[in-house]
Symmetry: C3
Subunit: 342 residues, 3 copies
Amino acid sequence: MRNYGMYLSDIQRLFGGELHVGEQRSAADLVITSVGTIEHASETEITFLANPKYRSALDDSRAGAVIISPSNFDATTKPRIVTDNPYAYFAKVAQHFSPRTAYPPGVNTLAAINPTARVAKSASIAEFVSIGANAVIGERVRIGAGCVIGENVVIGDDGELAAHVTLYHHCVIGKRALLHAGVVIGADGFGFAHENGAWIKIPQTGRVVMGNDCEIGASSTIDRGTMQDTIIGNGVKIDNQVQVGHNSIIGDNTLISGCTGIAGSTTIGQRVIIGGAVSITGHLSICDDAILSANAFVMKSITTPGMYSAGMPLMPHREWLKNAAQLRHLDEMANKLKKLGK
Amino acid sequence: MRNYGMYLSDIQRLFGGELHVGEQRSAADLVITSVGTIEHASETEITFLANPKYRSALDDSRAGAVIISPSNFDATTKPRIVTDNPYAYFAKVAQHFSPRTAYPPGVNTLAAINPTARVAKSASIAEFVSIGANAVIGERVRIGAGCVIGENVVIGDDGELAAHVTLYHHCVIGKRALLHAGVVIGADGFGFAHENGAWIKIPQTGRVVMGNDCEIGASSTIDRGTMQDTIIGNGVKIDNQVQVGHNSIIGDNTLISGCTGIAGSTTIGQRVIIGGAVSITGHLSICDDAILSANAFVMKSITTPGMYSAGMPLMPHREWLKNAAQLRHLDEMANKLKKLGK
Amino acid sequence: MRNYGMYLSDIQRLFGGELHVGEQRSAADLVITSVGTIEHASETEITFLANPKYRSALDDSRAGAVIISPSNFDATTKPRIVTDNPYAYFAKVAQHFSPRTAYPPGVNTLAAINPTARVAKSASIAEFVSIGANAVIGERVRIGAGCVIGENVVIGDDGELAAHVTLYHHCVIGKRALLHAGVVIGADGFGFAHENGAWIKIPQTGRVVMGNDCEIGASSTIDRGTMQDTIIGNGVKIDNQVQVGHNSIIGDNTLISGCTGIAGSTTIGQRVIIGGAVSITGHLSICDDAILSANAFVMKSITTPGMYSAGMPLMPHREWLKNAAQLRHLDEMANKLKKLGK
């Protein structure tokens, strides 16, 4: 699927930045066949330097060229493309060398498509796919083997569903979505009323409505709303094994790392960055541009942008036993200290 | 799927409570078409007030009627149904307006049913479903697209399996179960003996036996027992992405929120409420009516009902860095404090 | 699937150890039909004693024979097989009585196999399995219903995939693998470059390469590498709902318990034991033979073998409220204490 390569100068022409060939005047004619890390790139691959701490690693790199920021300009004598955001530049070059797979249009004979569903002719539907009544599948959408698309689901143009994705009835997926294997969108939210020691189910009649340009990782689950919808904004990126509860609202371009759980009815702003294994309880509000460290536990709303953390650092087990035991006495310790201070 | 509506007075006749129409004598003839939240209900929808903190929100609500407790009776002049448990009442009305989908009986031609399996004629088996030898599928059971039912599995009457549910061989699912997409029941428990630096598998020969009226959320997993069975009681409700280890026993009407993990051989009582992202280690016993806050880490058995919590509150990152560093010195601090006290 | 039983003396002949029949000279001729726990084993079943704390339980056990270590030799007068590692011995006997299911070779007529795939004649491919172009399926491999095997995937001999396993393109699975239902191997790692408030995807062009004798639990996910491969060593055992991020390297015979998340580019040594619900951040290195307690949060590399822990112990909710509040003031407390000490 990779290209046969392109001139370094063509990369600069396509993606911008300034090309510096240094002593090697012929470097503009260097053929670049792919991208690579500083450590592993070969002589025909281009790498990037974003973190200054890897400057010295460049000395040992075999990379044929480097994408670099002005501040690191002199970190190498290799041919360079200078740009303010080397990592984003690198991402674009990498995408150029590894474009999304193009799938042949058409419906596999082993798929089960309800006759009332509308599937674009340019869509590619794999074997063992089930598509329910009145579903609408956009142009060039790829639905991988074994996906189950419920009634009245809408999938926007250019979406890609890997294997075993489940979209429950009436959910809406925006354009250019990428949903990985095992994703479940629109299962019932977890809502029960308590009566005499038992639980009565609250029907979950809302939908999941997802914006454009979202990516959802393997085995992540986003529940449908109770009476309103669960809403995922544009450009939201969600890692594997993330759980989003019913009625949640996730703002545009927010990024959620793996194993994070977000309880119901929580509203998360735009451009929020959530680390791995974060737990966020229900009915909160997290403001735009907040950053939550990995493993954080969020019990209260956050109203000021910035980075927030929680959690106890790892210790050798014996030290932990002693220190953790004192956690039961912290309040007592604080009181003693107050008295002594007087 | 929704009804065309019913008189408010008919709701009271069906579900009990006291109807108060206030000034609006004709309100008994009000046609209610659905349920809604205080915030979003329309003039033909009925809402509920359970939490007094939303009393004032009722003033702005467009809801046509309210289910309310005696103590909040005067929170509105709207037509009211007065009942001791408004939320449970609301749940029943909501269920009335949004009954479970009825699926047409019969086996889809694209399902693979072992000839020795016994499938009730009233059951509805979707496309790409696999049912193994000697499985028994009860009356009116719905099995969604792509489910895989192992040999000798038993599914009680009126169960519903969404897409991609896997039931391993010999597992037993009670009546009226609702298993969401991606649920895996009966995979091998995690049991290995250590020998010379490597791991020897302990065969997992028990089953999972689940009572009646259970709901299991998307992508949750319940492992089969090692030599005995893993047992899930009646009325147990489990959210998404929950893991229940082998040989665990979960008591009736216990509720487990999303992302929680329960290690093996732990026994959990009845009516226990477990918050999200809780971790419970193995070989413990949790008594009836315990409540575990979200994110709690349970290392010891619990013998007294009540609410239990753990975890460090979220802080701005810089404050956390300073405070977390002291966690390594807590024992030392306690000792210093003791000396100073003398 | 169980055997009809074997003489106790034959167990000793097959698996070693010393047979002691005590007073019961005919015990060598005892027919053993299965294995069982101390508590539940019947008169024709063999049990084991590994943990001395269960010594007294042996008195009430109905087990017909016991696998026991020399140090516990006198814990029972039952017929005994004496061996240094009773649990490992027990595992082997248990495997003998419950061997892996043998599946009939051949490809189900409802499977979709790309004509360029090479499937061994001894392999067993169930219904609704999809196998992509150029995939190579080894001898005696079992692929369960609904699995999706991508292009160019290689599965070594004697592997078993339960239902709904997804293997993305180009991934390599070693010999004797056991992958449980819902496992996803090779979904895209979570890599994005930030530009103007939005996220640009880094193509994930590496693979997952897994060694021999690995077991992966239900719904676990292992992401493909970004430019290099994600590597899982030989004999690695992974429980349910574990997430392994891109570019991670897991050493031989490491064991990872359920609900654990490992972020990207982290290298984990050999024989590491990781408890449940552990979070490990990215770009770390964990040395051989480290042990991480359940719920540990690992932010720094570990260079010395041993056991490491973190986390706050569970408390009654009111105590927790008071103690947790002081966590925000720990640094302050430490400073006060230092002053008072002077």
